[in-house]
Structure formats: C-alpha cells, structure tokens
C-alpha cells in the first residue's frame, strides 16, 4: 500500500471512530435516562437514594425541594421564602396547582398544554407560606406566570437567547 493511501485509510478510520464514538455516547446518554433525574452527559447513571424528610405534628413531611431526587418525591411542605422575606413552607399541592403541574395531569395531548399556557399559564398565582406546622400562615409566595416572567426579564435586559446561547 502506498504511503498516501495508508495515511488516507488511517485518517478515515480515525474519523469513523470519532463519529461512531460520539453517536454511541449520545445513544448511551439517552438510554440511561430514568424518571426524575437526567442522565449525565457521559451516560453514567447516578444512584438514587430516597430522601428522608422530617415530619410535623400533622404527619406532613417537610424540607427542601433541593433534597428530592425527583419532582414526585418532594416533601409535602417545601421550604420557600415568602414575599415578605420570611422563610417558611409552601404546600406541594398548592405549588403544583400554581405552576401547572396539576393541570398537566389532565392534558390529553400537547395541544391541551399549549391552550393552557395561552390562558392560565400567563397568570401569576399567589399561594400561602406556612410555618412548619402547615397551619400558621406567615406570608405568601408568588408563582410567576409567563407574562410577568417575561416582563421582569425584559426589565433586567434578558431575553430567551441568553438562556439558549449554550446551544
């Protein structure tokens, strides 16, 4: 085999290996995704330990959403700061109702989601913030609708391309 032919063959093999390797890596990343936690970019799955939350007198679990391993196992009372600056807990059921998670459970198609966001999804929703007992209200927490979120982002000089530049 001539030297130039060997170089060309070697280069081709290297390129093919890189392409195949990247493809396999991407496929692996996708196949290792599991409910509640995205897979890592190199496809290595992470062990999931069920969160251990404390419980109040009413039997409700409380803690931070940041301790959950999936949106489904967040505590009943989620630590949050109220608009008055006090730190307390919002009820997960209230938060899910406000952010559209509850509504999404009734969607029969993606078109239902698009219709929802044109109406209810535009609006702000204010929910109570409680003390750890889940009864004593100490403030309010606002889940911002798309209209408010967009207005605030524009006032801050942000637009969606800021978040998408990574791509």
């Amino acid at each position: 085999m001539k030297r130039t032919t060997r170089i060309a063959a070697g280069t081709g093999a290297l390129v093919a290996a890189i392409v195949l390797g990247l493809g396999a890596g991407a496929a692996t990343a996708g196949s290792f995704a599991f409910l509640g936690l995205s897979s890592s970019p190199n496809g290595a799955p992470h062990p999931i330990k069920a969160p251990q939350y404390e419980t109040n007198a009413a039997g409700e679990t409380y803690g931070s959403a940041a301790d959950a391993t999936s949106p489904e196992n967040e505590p009943d009372l989620i630590r949050a700061q109220a608009t008055n600056g006090k730190t307390g807990y919002v009820k997960k059921v209230d938060l899910d109702a406000a952010n559209g998670t509850t509504a999404a459970e009734s969607f029969k198609s993606p078109e239902d989601a698009l219709r929802w966001q044109e109406t209810e999804g535009q609006l702000d929703h204010t929910i109570p913030v409680y003390d750890v007992d889940g009864v004593t209200q100490i403030g309010e927490f606002t889940v911002v609708g798309q209209k408010t979120a967009q207005e605030q982002a524009e006032q801050a000089g942000l637009d969606d391309s800021d978040a998408q530049q990574r791509g």
Binding site: L35, S40, D67, N99, A149, R166
Partner: protein, 156 residues
C-alpha cells in the same frame, strides 16, 4: 412567550463555549453585559415518548443591581422539538436550599420549539443563587417530569 430556536453555533463559538463551560461560568451578552453574569449547569438527557430531550439550568445574576433569574431550557436532542412535546419550569434557589422563586410550566410552540421556562427575577443583596429546573416530556399519554442538573452558584 417569545423563544428563539437554538442557533447553529460556529466552530469558534463552540470553542469559546467549551472554554467557558470548563469554568462553569460565562458572561452574558446584550444590554446587561457589563454587570450581569450567567452560568449553566451540565446538560442532562432523558428519553420519553421515543424522543431524547436535552435540558439545562441557567442562572443569571447582576452584582450591581442585585437581582437573579433562573431559566430552564428543554429541547429535543438533535432536530426540531415538536410543539408541546417539551416543557420547562424555572426555579431559583439560594444555598440553604430555600426556594426563592418559581415560574409556571412553559411549553415549546411551533414558532418557538425549545421550551424556555423562567422563574421570577428576584432582588436580594445578600445571597448567592443557583438554578435547578424541571423539564417535561410528552410520553404519549401525559407528561413525565425530570430535573435538570443544578447550575453553578453565582453571587448577586
């Protein structure tokens, strides 16, 4: 909500992003360039309804005006995201794991296929912030929810 599609990056942009990503932090462009800083978490991947999606948490802070904003972006991994197939919810946290701000679920549309979910823009002078979002993927009968990876922490 006006969301633009991911732009095809040039090679120089890819090199720049790779360099900045190595440090986990990048300076944002545009009006707020001089004062705001933004950071991305690692991209995550999940497959639902036969589609592999990519998601990422993004946080932007402004050290002079003392505000922070969290964004979650979810899109199909390669190709155009079908309308409504992907959703995102932005959530903004401070280090003692307190939820400071959250937005509603936001779904990609025909004109803006990538789902970009924003939290509120929160003002606070004493904290560092991070973004940890929720992504939604249509499974044929409903939506499955997935977390993003957490973004790096930034001061405001």
């Amino acid at each position: 909500m006006e969301a633009r599609r991911f732009r095809k990056p040039s090679f120089r942009a890819l090199v720049l992003v790779a360099f900045l990503s190595a440090f986990g932090v990048s300076a944002s462009t545009g009006v707020a360039y001089a004062v705001s800083t933004s950071a991305y978490g690692n991209p995550g991947f999940f497959t639902v309804g036969g589609i592999t999606f990519e998601n990422v948490a993004h946080v932007t802070t402004d050290a002079s005006a003392h505000w922070a904003n969290a964004t979650t972006v979810t899109q199909k991994y390669g190709g155009t995201t079908p309308a409504g197939a992907a959703g995102s919810r932005g959530r903004l946290f401070i280090p003692n794991e307190v939820l400071m701000c959250e937005g509603v679920n936001t779904y990609g549309t025909t004109s803006s296929p990538s789902a970009v979910g924003r939290s509120c823009t929160k003002t606070n002078t004493i904290s560092e912030w991070y973004s940890w979002g929720v992504s939604l993927g249509w499974n044929g009968n409903g939506y499955n929810s997935y977390y993003t990876y957490k973004s790096p922490r930034l001061n405001s």
